[in-house]
Symmetry: C2
Subunit: 411 residues, 2 copies
């Protein structure tokens, strides 16, 4: 009770809070998965190519395999004439070879015949009976995709900690890496505290509200690679909460929303303190200040504020880097960032980071960021109308309209 | 055979190709899903709030509910003294009311008692026995989160075509929209053609190569909301291909890689022409030029080149906007774009779009884009090393080093 109406003992800077959090989470183990199930997963090992790519010299064009020296000096007016001795097909190792004065018709991707060291594009030739006229010279190696030119056997093609995209899946296929070791996804237990909470869609009695946070947080967890597990609403009461917390820590991480603000009975930090250790309580960010972090039986526990915007912003600022670190990804928020021009002044308080939700749009080739006007931490529409956010650092009182600012984009 | 060595009749501009493609695909039907399964799905209906959010007037701070008029003129030196007549809790509809000269202790989120029109932050009060001294004035409405201030019942909170993010899932919870109508995800059949293809991980004989495309394309389809279904490798042969195509068009879309280049036997466009209609063949982009598009029994069929980079780039440029359109999303590529400074000159050919893979990095606060040097369409490492790409339009011959260019980011 005494804490409740007193305010936090101290708000610590976000950078310091992150140091505490990140020094208390570590990368989870790994697992081996088929490469075609690995999209968006983070590699837990360096990937070496098992083969040369391409596995043989092949033509990069439709045309003729030649000895480059035969074409030196060739032009429209003075073409080089070569005998066509056959054609090389895709998918078959040709037995043909190319000697001086000869050419082999070849398709893109077909193996180069022995003796040939270049390919002439069909557009630069003219057929004359069994011969071709080459209308432009090629240098040795021209239009040939050499064995190992993309990747050499034994080369590292993708590094540990890399999050796999479609082209990387292609690279795994190409290099014979059909099973890959990836970081295990953190299993994240989510609890929502508060006797006033009801399941969404329920008809609410006066003073009751819908549980928003456990659903939005579950989605946020999934969107940064975690496996969310909603454990439901915990009515107020220290014993109920402690019991729920002990169930939750069977997962890799616990997120609890509500009950971390000094106005919300402080029950979550108290429960964490009783079962383990509270390492920080109160972070100098807005929204999201009433955030606590602790360890219970070795598992990180994030206590987020009950207001939906506070909970999601604090998740982004503090929990998201931790969940990424646990997967071996860079311990940042992982949102793409752009520069945009603020269309209005935004104000902040010295000593505290302000997370300003903005809507970025293109206007006459320039990116403009409109700060969302209604910005209370209870106003979820401030986040649904936003497509990004601007961070106002602790040491400035805001940004003037017209300033160029960095915007992190929500998708 | 005649087409093969002739080159395409005509390459059409990407913008024209997209017009053809987009006028031949339409939004698929919709389905109703539970809101907590709807992350990343595209809404197929406008979402109206079923309730006021918040559902009642509540305090936005820890402190005291008061009549604002009682605090006018209050200061540290001349505080307003008010009788504390009780306290209002979260989750309970208080029966207390606040009259002139009275205050009710209140916590953040608790319903405002009748009569009170503002809340004073605890930090601006001093307890004096059963009274409080208010040290600063509040205006009516101050620190009160009014019923419906976030969202009013009946208001549209999320629009048709919007792709749902974590905060939007929260908004659905908050507004009682526990089931939502979302666009159906396109089911995309994927075929890889070529007798030279083997499953990844197989020991390759000379002239054989691994099937990369059906895997990288499946991942690309998944990453833009489609449901990929790999139907395997189709060996060369028009009858085999036609049979495979007729099986594939039971899906919503067909992607075929290989066999669309003039050097690759042209079998795919020929098969599409025999079973339906080829609407375009050859797009003025590089890589990815040898792309065809047609309709077979009402289903869009994309024939992409066999080279892995060509296939993926053509997918991004032509198929991705179509798959997004089918889900009711904007018919663009959907990648975030930034401005960055090119570190080297990039060259292009007039009349053709060049898609230049780049690696964007931050240097002294500026974003620098390094063009990837090896850029052949067979060189998949040019895409795995890239984190974005620059589009050089048809009407320029490239960009100079030092130019500021738009980069679309791969993740």
């Amino acid at each position: 009770m005494s804490v409740r109406m007193r305010g936090f003992a101290s708000y610590i800077r976000l950078s310091d809070a992150l140091k505490v959090v990140l020094s208390n989470v570590k990368q989870l183990g790994s697992e081996v998965v088929p490469f075609d199930r690995a999209l968006n997963r983070a590699l837990a090992e360096d990937i070496f190519s098992k083969v040369d790519v391409p596995p043989f010299d092949r033509s990069a064009v439709d045309g003729y395999a030649v000895q480059a020296a035969d074409t030196f000096g060739a032009s429209e007016l003075k073409p080089a004439k070569l005998h066509v001795v056959g054609s090389a097909d895709i998918g078959a190792a040709t037995k043909l070879s190319v000697r001086r004065g000869e050419a082999v018709k070849i398709m893109t991707g077909a193996p180069m015949p022995k003796g040939a060291d270049a390919a002439v594009m069909v557009e630069h030739t003219r057929v004359e009976g069994s011969r071709i006229a080459v209308l432009a010279p090629v240098t040795p190696g021209k239009n040939v995709s050499a064995r190992g030119e993309d990747v050499k056997a034994g080369e590292v093609v993708l590094e540990r900690g890399w999050q796999l995209r479609p082209q990387d899946i292609g690279m795994l296929a190409s290099t014979g890496n059909v099973r890959v070791r990836v970081a295990r996804r953190p299993r994240v237990a989510i609890l929502a505290t508060g006797s006033e909470l009801r399941e969404p869609g329920t008809r609410l009695k006066r003073a009751e509200i819908a549980d928003i946070n456990s659903y939005s947080l579950a989605a946020a967890v999934a969107s940064c690679g975690g496996l969310p597990r909603r454990l439901g609403i915990v009515p107020d009461g220290p014993e109920l909460l402690k019991r729920a917390l002990l169930r939750a820590i069977k997962h890799d991480v616990v997120l609890i929303s509500g009950g971390s603000s000094v106005g919300e009975r402080d029950i979550v930090p108290n429960a964490v303190a009783e079962l383990g250790e509270v390492l920080l309580h109160g972070v100098a960010i807005r929204p999201g200040g009433p955030t606590a972090f602790g360890i219970v039986k070795g598992k990180p526990v994030f206590a987020l504020a009950g207001f939906p915007v506070s909970a999601l912003v604090a998740f982004d600022m503090i929990a998201r880097p931790a969940l990424r670190r646990m997967q071996g990804l860079p311990a940042d928020r992982g949102y793409p960032s752009i520069l945009a021009r603020l269309t209005r002044k935004v104000s902040s308080t010295l000593g505290r980071i302000e997370v300003v939700r903005v809507h970025v749009r293109r206007e006459a080739g320039e990116l403009m960021a409109d700060p969302i006007r209604i910005a209370g931490s209870g106003i979820l529409s401030s986040m649904t109308k936003a497509n990004g956010f601007v961070i106002v650092p602790e040491d400035v009182e805001g940004f003037n309209g017209g300033s160029i600012v960095e915007v992190e984009l929500y998708r």
